[in-house]
Symmetry: C2
DNA sequence: GTCTATAAGATGATAGAC
DNA sequence: GTCTATCATCTTATAGAC
């Protein structure tokens, strides 16, 4: 669709659509899916409601497209961490960076953490994406933990999947709780504690 | 108000208002604050929208009253745990019971965990109550952890407040993640892991 | 205390001009 | 691709009869 520009390889790059998704994501991470409207997005983008509908016919479609982009970016990020030659501890730190960045904003939590809270109110397609994001993270974390323990750098009891679930749930929960407490430092304290648990 | 019945000591006990709060709480725990309406509540209670407004003039007032009741019940619950002669491990288990019960429903998360996710979209009075609930829990948990470590039954690094923050964030996050995964057993696995961390 | 009726505004969505 | 105008519906909330 709309392959007029010279970039033949990446035909799907509508600047306006991307901007809409940027704004929608920021609003969603602060107020939740049912807390934002096309009107809210339109105002921040600087166009009219109808123009948003031109790019994303329905709110559910906008949500799905947003989550697809989010997961695509996340996969690229995780792949980057995997490619690095760093050890388990450095990789864990790299993984935590986006969470730390979100905590520092003071007004956002994880996109999927918030959508997870509104889970039953979401369209099935959106629910699937949220599920997928959770699964992706727990799987990746479990692999990292597994490797780290084999190389005797991480220490923890039980299976890697359970430990991954604890760490991921803790990250999602911390972002929500620390934001409500208006205390980003609480998130850092949780990280310190989580690391101590893995053997420092 | 309305002290017609013989119960002179507890004048504030409107059965309909309580039922409304019951229904509102259940809906809120599944769909979130912005995911439910007076209409939704009215249908489940079996009365009309206007009748809900008679008991709770505005939605924010309903939310605040609901959270006040929730925190009151929670305080009573925590006081009950404190009064028991059980040891730290048993008390921790008692504390976990409501979380386990919520996880088993399969479609609810913690009321305040969900409201925390929608934080910026809430009225300031509601935000305060959510903050208060988080603080109450972390304070209580920190005290339990502190006592448990002094009596050499719990083992953990760092200060009790940080460990309490980790455990509480983990519980809130787990309820959200496990529900999305449609796997209540995942919550139990997290509990096992959390306990292992404290020394089994 | 509950009801019907209704207001006033927001919301997701569409039609059609430019 | 963006706009104005409009629609149907939902939402919170109020007025007033029973």
């Amino acid at each position: 669709m709309q392959a007029k520009t010279g970039k033949l390889i990446k035909p799907h790059s509508d600047a306006t659509a991307d901007l809409i998704l940027d704004v929608a994501q920021e609003l969603l991470q602060t107020r939740g899916y049912n807390g934002i409207s096309y009107q809210d997005i339109a105002e921040q983008v600087g166009i009219r409601k109808a123009s948003i509908h031109h790019h994303f016919a329905t709110k559910a479609e906008l949500g799905v497209k947003l989550l697809c982009r989010y997961r695509r970016q996340w996969h690229a990020f995780l792949a980057g961490v995997d490619e690095s030659t760093a050890g388990p501890w450095e990789k864990f730190d790299q993984y935590l960076d986006p969470f730390r960045a979100t905590a520092r904003t003071g007004d956002r939590a994880c996109l999927c953490g918030i959508l997870g809270a509104e889970f039953a109110a979401l369209a099935p397609e959106l629910q699937q994406e949220v599920q997928g994001f959770f699964r992706d993270n727990e799987t990746w974390l479990a692999a990292l933990l597994s490797h780290g323990r084999r190389s005797r750098q991480f220490r923890f009891q039980g299976d890697a999947a359970s430990e991954a679930a604890v760490i991921f749930a803790c990250l999602e929960g911390s972002l929500i709780v620390a934001r409500a407490a208006r205390n980003p430092l609480q998130f850092d304290a949780v990280i310190v504690q989580l690391k101590g648990r893995l053997g420092r």
